[in-house]
Symmetry: none
Subunit: 237 residues, 2 copies
DNA sequence: CTGGTAAAGTGGTCAGGCCAATTCCGGGGC
DNA sequence: GCCCCGGAATTGGCCTGACCACTTTACCAG
């Protein structure tokens, strides 16, 4: 597998991509050992340092694991990843504000262009939420699903990605505690009622109403967080 | 945290972590140039190959950018690697539309509440962009910096996170080709002029004008992509 | 068969060198 | 005086070759 004569990418990148391709294609199975650095260098017609640089890139990308004195082992396709993270000191309000902006627009777009199947998916998530609440468990997961499916129904995958990113921030160390305060059955009933308003506006193809309903929902969520937040501050003082 | 007296991590990791910490702490600001590899090696008491390995790791992690013959440049805190990824078949238009919505709001918020230092940071990024364009190189990195700093100036770290997430999508396999079509000096001049309008509105504390200017910028960007996109489709057919 | 020890294999790191791209600077042309 | 351009200095890209540390294997003695 000769290297291109006119490839402007740096050498370590070319090598890393070639090896990554082999791993993706299953040429090297997970757990399998790659040839020694010296052999790879000879086979590819490059120097050992270049191979080493490529292997380090692959290690950072999660493709391989390097064991000192033993060898380089493939880890398999689809690299492990860490997502961006919100600064620890940013309160929940900035996040809610961002969601207010973005998710209200998602709701509006969904009302305009969602397919029947997508509307159905949103309704399913809401039903699931209701069922969990009836069983007395906290419908946190289905709440997330509801919002995500609306974002998907907007027809804009970039917005869907953003909503998912923001929602996953709630799994941070600080937000879990707040989530807890927020968790009384009565408050969940309010949230479910607000969700019904949103889904109805979408189903009725009313973009303006959908946006307004989502904004109301977010405003209420902000207020609920606010009370928890105050309690928390008072306890600290 | 192990914190062993004899650090068993491989050397390149120790070096990379050390440099990454400096970037996170703002010791090296975004866009700033790091010392040459040879100097770093001498300062840290290690060999140049080890420094090179560390820099490659940092490059993969999105901390730095290496420009041949010029130097190593910090990209800013928090890496871009391995984040959630957009579906491969979603065109650039969904992404632009999402940025249209979010970044225009960021500009408006920035005009309302940015500190003097934050406005200054945005202006710096624009100056940097102009400088790079004058040198004939594509100011892609400083373009990114400009938009990121406006998002930071909004005072909402969740929005800043979102903007960063969306911007990093452009590094996908498909977008790079488009970026290329988009890269004529004349088009960059237009982009820089639009950036000036945005930054002026922010400096003058006019939220409405800032939002409008950013929306115009995004509309034009969409049109530019549109022509590239059509060309691309035609070539495929 | 067991245990330990020597040898081979493999990655870790270093030193030093040459090449190519970029940047910088000073001198010549207009 | 201003601009352009060509060479020198700077900087990253890549290579050769070597030695060290750790791991695995092989072999031999008990």
């Amino acid at each position: 597998m000769p290297l291109q004569s006119v490839d402007s990418r740096r050498l370590y990148r070319q090598i890393a991509d070639q090896i990554a391709a082999l791993i993706e294609k299953g040429e090297y199975r997970a757990g399998e050992r790659l040839p020694p650095e010296r052999d790879l260098a000879r086979q590819l017609g490059v120097s050992r340092p270049s191979v080493r640089e490529a292997l380090i890139a692959l290690e950072v990308e999660g493709y391989v694991e390097v064991r000192v004195g033993s060898g380089v082992y493939a880890l398999g396709p689809h690299p492990a990843s860490g997502s961006p993270v919100l600064p620890a000191d940013s309160g929940p309000f900035e996040l809610i504000r961002a969601r207010w902006l973005i998710e209200s627009e998602c709701a509006s777009l969904a009302a305009r262009s969602a397919t029947r199947a997508q509307v159905r998916a949103v309704e399913d998530a809401l039903d699931q939420m209701q069922a969990q609440r009836d069983k007395g468990t906290m419908p946190l997961a289905s709440d997330r699903l509801f919002h995500l499916r609306i974002a998907e129904a907007s027809g804009n995958s970039a917005l869907a990605l953003v909503v998912k990113t923001l929602w996953d921030q709630r799994m941070g160390p600080l937000f879990l505690r707040l989530e807890h305060h927020y968790d009384t059955p009565a408050l969940w009933d309010v949230a479910i009622r607000e969700h019904h308003e949103i889904v109805q506006a979408i189903a009725r193809r009313d973009p303006t109403a959908a946006r307004a309903a989502m904004r109301r929902h977010m405003n209420h969520a902000a207020r609920r967080f606010s009370t928890s937040w105050e309690k928390r501050k008072r306890r600290k003082a």
